[in-house]
Structures are given as C-alpha cells and as structure tokens.
C-alpha cells in the first residue's frame, strides 16, 4: 500500500510571531520555517506503517513556495521515499487556501492511488483544520480526523479519535483520509544516514497549473492583530480580600 502525506512549510513553532505593520498578515521574511508539527506526526505514522509492513511506499507532497522543498527533504530524511513539490506561489507570504490545497491533493491522489492519506489535523499557522476534510469530500473517501491511534488491517483502518471529553473509535474503509492529532506518536529525529540519503531520493517538481487548479484566494483577510496582552495579576493579602476581589470581578 502506498501512503500519501501532505506536508506544509510553516513558521517554526518556536518563533515569536510578529504581525506585519499593515495588519495584512504575519511577518515571514527571514523567519525560521519548519514542517508543520502535525504533519511531522503524519509522516512518522506513515513510516511506522511501513516499518510494520503495512505500507510499502511513502510519498510526501507539499504545496506552496519553492522553499517548501526543504520541508520535503526533511520528510525524506525522516524516512519518506519520494516527494512531490507543487509550486503554487512565489511570495512566502502567500497562503494557499485549504480548498485549493485539497483540490491539488485530490488530483495528486488520483495519479498516485494511495491506500491512505495521512495529513496533519491542521497547520499551526492558520489553524484552518479543513484540508483533510475537504480532501476526503472531493475524493469521496472515508475520513477519520483527530487520530490518536491508527491500526490498519486489510482494507480497513481503525482510528481512535480525540473528541471533546474523550475518545471515539471508528472503523473506516480504505482508501481513506486520516488526520493526525498531537498524541498519535512522537516523531523521530532524522538520522544522519537518512539525511545523507535524502538528497538522492526523487523529488518531482510540479506547479498548480499542472493540475489545472486555480489557487487564487477566495477569502479576504480583513485584519490580523496581536493577541491581547495579558494583564498583570495582583497579590491578595487575605482570604477576605480574595473573596471581595472575586466578587468585584463578578466571579462569585
């Protein structure tokens, strides 16, 4: 079985995000970029399926600017076999919207015929949480989102999902789209031999036009702003004071 894993190049989770002065988005110039952490989990899950003999090929695909090639190399260094880079923008600040990404991924999936697509549940930049779901809908495949456990058996996958207040276990028929949640696994570091091998692994370069997908935005960002600065706390001297302050704040 082939597993397809979409990976997105996003601002590194350690970077303190700065809003651009004109409020149109966040500043991405000269900022450290990395693979979306949920996608790393998805890649890891695919590698584990391969190690368990359930998958035989892992294809990673990234849609965005040319620099996403670095993200693909990282996935190859982790253990993916092959990569497809779909260039869809020139400016690092251009975000390709979930529907366009899902359409391109659907086209890639039709060419590649994977048994499983494992995606991250969302990208940490825009937190859309939409691509996996849209992709499943476009392909007419089953979907299991927010996976914290995946077991593949024959042509079904049993997926434990993280839902509000608990876990839900679903069985889906493959081909299927699974989206990875935080607790699915702990991604590995790229080993040095794999880093050295990554360059030799095939990386196909495509453009959005190759798939006939129009990536022009449908959404307009009205404003981007910093989260409100947290107010400093106060220290109370006694229980009585605490109670009265809580009453003042309307919490009691």
């Amino acid at each position: 079985m082939k597993v397809l894993v979409p990976v997105k190049r996003v601002i590194d989770y350690n970077v303190k995000v700065r809003v651009k002065a004109d409020g149109t988005g966040v500043d991405l110039a000269n900022v450290k970029m990395s693979m979306n952490p949920f996608d790393e989990i998805a890649v890891e899950e695919a590698i584990r399926l391969k190690e368990a003999g359930k998958a035989d090929e892992i294809v990673v695909v990234s849609i965005g600017v040319k620099q996403a090639q670095e993200t693909l190399r990282t996935a190859l260094a982790m253990g993916a076999d092959r990569a497809i880079l779909v260039t869809a923008a020139d400016d690092v600040h251009t975000d390709i919207e979930p529907l366009a990404v899902a359409k391109i991924l659907a086209a890639v999936a039709k060419e590649e015929n994977p048994g499983l697509i494992i995606a991250g549940k969302q990208a940490i930049d825009n937190d859309m949480n939409a691509t996996g779901q849209m992709l499943a809908a476009l392909l007419g495949w089953s979907q299991a989102t927010f996976a914290s456990e995946v077991a593949v058996d024959g042509d079904t996958a049993t997926v434990t999902r993280e839902v509000d207040g608990g876990l839900q276990t679903v069985k889906v028929k493959m081909p299927a789209v699974i989206t990875a949640d935080l607790r699915l696994n702990e991604p590995r570091y790229a080993s040095l031999p794999n880093i050295m091998k990554a360059k030799k692994k095939p990386l196909d370069e495509k453009t959005a036009a190759d798939y006939g997908v129009d990536v022009s935005p449908r959404l307009t960002v009205v404003k981007t702003s910093e989260p409100p600065v947290r107010q400093a706390g106060i220290k109370v001297g006694s229980v009585d004071e605490l109670v009265s302050k809580l009453k003042e704040a309307g919490a009691l």
Partner: protein, 386 residues
C-alpha cells in the same frame, strides 16, 4: 563564494539542535545541582545518538563513522555547544587521533570507539607541563622489550567514563643547538592496567559534571603494541590529528553564545525599568548589537577555518584565530548577558550564571589565548625572520 548551508547541512543543524533541546536541556539543571551525570542517563543519550547514526560522526565511513567533512562536523559541534558539556560528552566524538591505530589496535581501540563500545580520554597535561607540553616529566623507559611508565597527568577530561587513555609520555631527550629537547611517544593505556591509576581531580568552576581526573603511573608496564604512531613520534601524531580540535572549542563557543544571546535578547525586550523595556535604553540595545556582531564574526571565522581544512588549505593560523576570538567572544557575551539580567543573572534560576562560569575554561584549554596568539604571531613573523 557561497555562504549558505546545503539542505543536508541544514538538516544536520536542525536535527542536532532538536536533539540538544529535547534530550539534553531537560537534564541540565539536575547535572548542575549534583555535579554528576547518572551513568544510566549518559548511556541512554549515547544509545540514542548511536541509533541516529551521529555517534563518532567525525570518523570516516571506512571505519564506521559518518564521514562528515570538517565543515559539517563543525556545525554539529556548534549545535552541541548549546548544551551542557557533561551531557553532550555522551554524544560521542572520539578523538580522531585514533585514526593513527595500526593492525590489532584498530580492532581493540579504533573500531570499538567508533561503535560506542569503548570511550577514550586524552592525556597530555601535567602539573608542571601545561602550555609547555614538551616539558612533560611523565616518562617511559625501556625494560626488556617493554616500556615502563612513571609520572602523572592532571586535568584529564572524560576520564570518568574512559575505557582507555591516549597518553603522551617522554621517551628520551635529544641534544639540539637550542638545548635538550624531549622525545615524546603516544601510548594507548587500558583502564585497569597494573601500575596505572585514575583518581578524581579538582572541582572546577566550569562545566559541572564534566569532571577532570588525575592519572598516576607507577612502574606501569606496556608492550610496544600499545604505542600509537611511531616510537618518539608523539608530536607527529599530535600535529597530524589534534590540530583541528581547537575548531571544536571555537564551534562550542559560537553555539553556546547563540543560546546565551537568545536569553539576553528576550530578557532585554521584556524586563521593564523606569516605565519601559530596558531594550529601549541605548546602553542595553547597543550591547545587544555588539554581541550579535561578535557572535556572527566568530561563527564565520570558525566555519571558514573548517572550510579551509576541507579544501586542504593551510589553516593553522586561521584555526588559532577562531579559537582565540570565539572563546574571548563567549566571555564577553556571557558577561554582558549576565549584566543585562541584573542580579537575577547571578541566580541559578537562570542558566546565565552557568554559561558565564562555563565560558571561563574555553580561554584556557586546548591552548590558552596566549598560546593561540603565539601561534598566530609566529605564523606572521617567521617568514620575516623576526
């Protein structure tokens, strides 16, 4: 000229940095507090590094290493410099002088060291012979077909976990026009060899948990098979293989300085006095500007030294400059970072006081700053006959 990292180099840097952040940082406070790395933890780190294929990555592929270039390896060292040295010791970069192993020595020392089965330590320094290595008193005399060693070595790092020691010993004196000159031979000495004892050394202000030891030789008998390189050829192996270790010190300093700098930058941006962020005071912001300028300068000096080695170019002076400048830069950067943190900088709630203490030894070991200046100036003046 091209100043960017390749994709591989980028991944090497990212991987080692992530490793240090996830596998080393969480244990640092404990190591500082106890002055000790629990052996199980050290071995666990070592196993992870072996599994990742980074163990002994400074060795060529023929002997089981990863065959990294000097430049790639310097990038690894730079990222490791961020972490506690007591812990990153288990990241395993055996002394590359082991490449001088011949015949059975390869099976006994070189290959096990590369595989992580045996750890090494290197001993040159003596109480009366530091910068003046050749002034060493520890000596070996012929007895039958063997060597009998007497004397001591001190300040020996890594001895705690070493299975064997690479020891430089005087094996005779030559009369030269400039006076008597000692001949030096390098020996491989197994822990537990009769007449050889390893004792705990001094408590150092720098790199807690990365201890130094004293080695004693009391009629320690070694066969010729334990000679690394040629008899009386100790300086030759030293010069061939230990030449580049100064770059690892420089790389350490750059990595450590960058970690320290991040603290300085964010503290200056957050700490408020007189109703504003202290970064708004030019007295602080200009220090930050100087710090990053010096860090970048040291970084490029170090990487270019490594690059020169890879090109097969002369690099002795350049490496000395890198070691000198990076270690002195780290002293200034850690000191300024501490100053920016005010009193809190001295408290062990922050790692700053530790960075500041750790920095001190970098100007001393692997050739003091004065010795590096000596190397640099001799390189410039020798051709002028001065």
């Amino acid at each position: 000229m091209h100043f960017g990292l390749s994709e591989e180099q980028d991944m090497i840097v990212n991987t080692v940095r992530a490793f240090v952040e996830n596998e080393i940082y969480p244990h640092e406070a404990m190591v500082e507090r106890t002055g000790q790395v629990p052996l199980e933890l050290g071995l666990e780190i070592k196993q992870k590094v072996i599994d990742l294929g980074f163990y002994a990555c400074n060795f060529p592929e023929e002997v089981g290493g990863a065959g990294l270039s000097h430049l790639d390896f310097t990038l690894v060292e730079r990222e490791l410099g961020r972490g506690s040295m007591a812990l990153t010791h288990f990241f395993g970069r055996p002394q590359n002088i082991l490449m001088a192993c011949e015949g059975e020595q390869k099976e006994k020392y070189l290959l096990p060291a590369v595989r992580g089965e045996k750890m090494d330590a290197l001993a040159m320094t003596e109480p009366d012979a530091g910068s003046d290595v050749r002034g060493m008193k520890c000596q070996a005399q012929r007895d039958g077909g063997d060597w009998v060693i007497n004397g001591s070595k001190h300040f020996i790092s890594g001895a705690e976990h070493a299975d064997f020691f690479i020891v430089f010993v005087a094996t005779g004196v030559d009369d030269t026009p400039k006076g008597p000159k000692k001949r030096i031979t390098c020996f491989l000495v197994d822990r537990g060899t009769p007449g050889f004892e390893v004792r705990e050394g001094y408590t150092s202000v720098s790199h807690r948990g990365y201890k130094n030891y004293i080695l004693y030789f009391d009629n320690c008998r070694l066969p010729d098979a334990q000679v690394l390189g040629e008899v009386d050829g100790g300086f030759a192996v030293m010069n061939e293989w230990l030449y580049a270790t100064r770059l690892t010190v420089a790389a350490f300093c750059v990595g450590r300085a960058r970690r320290c700098f991040d603290h300085a930058l964010s503290y200056a941006a957050e700490r408020k006095q007189f109703g504003q962020q202290i970064a708004k005071f030019q007295g602080i912001s200009f220090q930050i500007a100087d710090m990053i300028t010096e860090i970048d300068a040291a970084d490029w000096l170090t990487l270019s030294g490594a690059w020169r080695l890879d090109q097969g170019m002369e690099a002795n002076r350049e490496i000395a400059s890198a070691k000198l400048y990076a270690s002195e830069m780290l002293a200034r950067v850690t000191d300024a970072t501490l100053q920016i943190h005010g009193g809190m900088g001295l408290m062990d709630d922050f790692p700053i006081e530790r960075f500041w203490r750790d920095a001190r030894v970098e100007r001393i070991w692997d050739g003091t700053s004065e010795i590096q200046r000596h190397i640099i100036s001799r390189d410039l003046f020798r051709p002028l006959g001065a």
